[in-house]
């Protein structure tokens, strides 16, 4: 009787060890699977797009009276006097930005939201990205409207997480 009890106790001991090992393996595997994959390249790429896109687009020289995009934005946010080939400066600005976005961010299937605030007509383009969505980066550039207005127009480009 004593021997039977002893054998049962030994087997119980072995089972406890096996169960402990199984639990520790389970915890190890679950902690490892929580590790997020690296996103260094994606984050850097989105940051470059968000910040440099606005800087580059503002300097683009157009065929509209030799003005660049930044100057057209200033006119569009103040007097809207510029006219290019029968259309207003604001319309020309809208078409130019739409064209550049089509050739770049839309083509790359980037989720973005581009807006120019204070323009006389709404200039806003988005690709599956709302202002409330989580973003990787947001480029932001104020454009002073002085001396025509004591105010700034704002160009914003938000790159949303994909």
């Amino acid at each position: 009787m004593k021997n039977k009890k002893k054998a049962q106790m030994e087997i119980m001991g072995l089972m406890v060890i096996v169960v402990l090992i199984a639990i520790s393996i389970f915890f190890m595997v679950s902690f490892r699977s929580n590790n997020q994959p690296t996103t260094i390249k994606k984050d850097y790429s989105d940051t470059q797009l968000g910040t440099n896109f606005i800087l580059a687009i503002l300097k683009v020289d157009t065929e509209c009276q030799g003005l660049n995009i930044e100057e057209l934005i200033k006119d569009c946010a103040t007097q809207n006097r510029v006219s290019c080939s029968g259309i207003s400066g604001c319309e020309y600005l809208n078409q130019s930005i739409d064209f550049l976005l089509n050739k770049t961010l839309y083509n790359m299937s980037t989720r973005f939201n581009f807006t120019i605030e204070k323009a006389k007509i709404p200039i806003s383009f988005a690709n599956e990205c709302e202002m409330s969505d989580e973003s990787t980066t947001t480029g932001f550039q104020p454009i002073p409207l002085y001396p025509l207005r004591n105010d700034n127009a704002f160009v914003k480009l938000k790159i949303c997480k994909s």
């Binding site: 030994e10 260094i40 390249k41 470059q48 797009l49 800087l55 300097k59 020289d61 130019s96 790359m108």
Partner: protein
């Protein structure tokens, strides 16, 4: 007789325990090596991405193509004439029979990959320059796009461009 049986049973018990322990150690080693190799693959991916970012930063900061005025470099702007000149130098250097000094110099910096500049004109024209390219293209590649301003000194105008950096892995 009973004592012999008892001794045999105890020996059998010890033997069984040793076998079980050895099996558990072997399983543990196999499991550990699988986890370690997964770790190493993740580290490899991480280093690939870091070297990609490093290449993008070097290419974006090349003084050979940056716009400059009175020896002051303009950020986020590249000079069209300098692009043409650098493309010419690297292309002629990489051609067979040419002096490969310039190509080797840039290969030390860029490694296996491609550096391209694409100009997007508002009139719909698209121009491309391949500044640097290695022959052995690979199916696996990483690409980073960086918007830049392209300045044409001949007409004193700026257009929109993309610096496209591709690294072959």
């Amino acid at each position: 007789m009973i004592k012999r049986k008892k001794a045999q049973v105890q020996m059998g018990e010890s033997f069984a325990i040793i076998i079980i322990v050895i099996i558990m150690i072997v399983l543990g080693l196999i499991f550990y090596s699988k986890i370690k190799s997964e770790d190493i693959s993740k580290k490899e991916l991480l280093f690939d991405e870091l070297s990609m970012v490093e290449l993008a930063q070097i290419a974006g900061a090349l003084p050979e193509i940056h716009c400059s005025s009175a020896d002051v470099s303009d950020s986020n702007c590249i000079d069209l004439l300098k692009i043409n000149a650098l493309e010419e130098i690297i292309t002629s250097s990489s051609a067979s029979g040419g002096d490969k000094t310039a190509f080797y110099y840039y290969r030390e910096i860029f490694g296996r990959g491609k550096i391209m500049i694409r100009e997007i004109g508002l009139d719909g024209t698209i121009n491309e320059w391949i500044l640097y390219k290695t022959d052995n293209e690979s199916l696996s590649q990483n690409t980073i796009f960086s918007p830049v301003s392209i300045y044409n000194p001949s007409t004193n105008t700026k257009s929109f461009g993309m610096l496209i950096i591709t690294k072959y892995t």
